[in-house]
Symmetry: C2
Subunit: 217 residues, 2 copies
Amino acid sequence: MAKSGSASKVKASGGARSEVTRQHLVDAAIATLQDRGFAGTSARAIAERAGSNQGLIFYHFGSVANLLLAALDAVSHSRLEQYGTSVAGTSSLTELVDAATDIFQTDLDAGYLTVLVEMIAGASSSPGLGPEVAARIGPWQEFAQTAVESSLRDSPLAALLPAKDVAYAVVALYLGLEMLSHLDGDRGPALDLFAHARLLAQLIERMTATTTAEETT
Amino acid sequence: MAKSGSASKVKASGGARSEVTRQHLVDAAIATLQDRGFAGTSARAIAERAGSNQGLIFYHFGSVANLLLAALDAVSHSRLEQYGTSVAGTSSLTELVDAATDIFQTDLDAGYLTVLVEMIAGASSSPGLGPEVAARIGPWQEFAQTAVESSLRDSPLAALLPAKDVAYAVVALYLGLEMLSHLDGDRGPALDLFAHARLLAQLIERMTATTTAEETT
DNA sequence: GTCTATACTTGGATAGAC
DNA sequence: GTCTATCCAAGTATAGAC
């Protein structure tokens, strides 16, 4: 349905030029959420960073809220994709914790989690934003659940701790650690925690091995 | 009793009338943070709820940010006091989890944690707000650390998990659970988690008892 | 179709009324 | 000392220019 040469993309505003502008605005929205927070991410603040006129936000996205959701989409997709490849290479609980540590460090340093936290906390400020944000956080919980399931599959803990509940806690912890680390400007305590989680993972694996050995005896 | 002579009090403490107005504004700020979020908590929104003129906020508190900090102070003090009495009555890990469950449920239903989350997330929007908020979250971590220490004192887990790190995680988890529950409008998953934590606490206590018995044999 | 200039609303803060 | 009327900056959104 490409009309003329310039209109090959799917969006209502379909030109290549439009796509570039949209991308600039999304990038600027992410950056602004990261260092000004939700309340500081106004159309003017975003546009200034993008080097665009603020009116473009309403032309391309209809509202600031829609642009912010597009920004959340971009971060969410890009991170979940990365998570998938990182976790695919793990086969034990300890390796999963190692992968999670790397992921968390990157998320923290690059401010990806900040975008999530600001959007979740900011959702209550804007009518109708809540469900939209929730729909974009859902995949994070699904991903966490899958990762937890495959790592606890052979563990006796699986009976005691449903993967869904553990995944919910993992995502909550992730968000909470971002909040505290960001607030203090110190990622040290959070990383210490991952180090301890690794030790705990090793302990659990040893216990599991022992249990299995006893059962097969 | 409207005015006893010409009021002789200074601005900050003021007369009884001033104190009433301040309290109304603090209460309204808390309520507004809870259902409009940080970004929606403007001087006008607060004043409307308090039944006051918005200029009063600047007269009594100097700025909206200062009023919000006073609101955070009020919530923080009142909750930590409650936590203290609740946890004082516990002597085992299981009882601690029970107390935490009650506390969490109240926090969630009454929106106390919402105030914390909104202030933490909103802190990045306002220059200089971060350290002020951090100073008011610190006591929460100290409280959590004390509670964790007294409950893990006799446990072999204490060597593996420093109370400070566990407390950091507990506070982070608390905040994260509030965010997710609030976003979904469903506290069910979070409460399920507490139920599982209780089972885990019982398991740990049984393991600890066994270990102790073996050691004394 | 894409973008800019402009309209109108809301927000923070204060000068001045009581 | 306490509160209100008013000011101006910043916000969203659109009408109209290119």
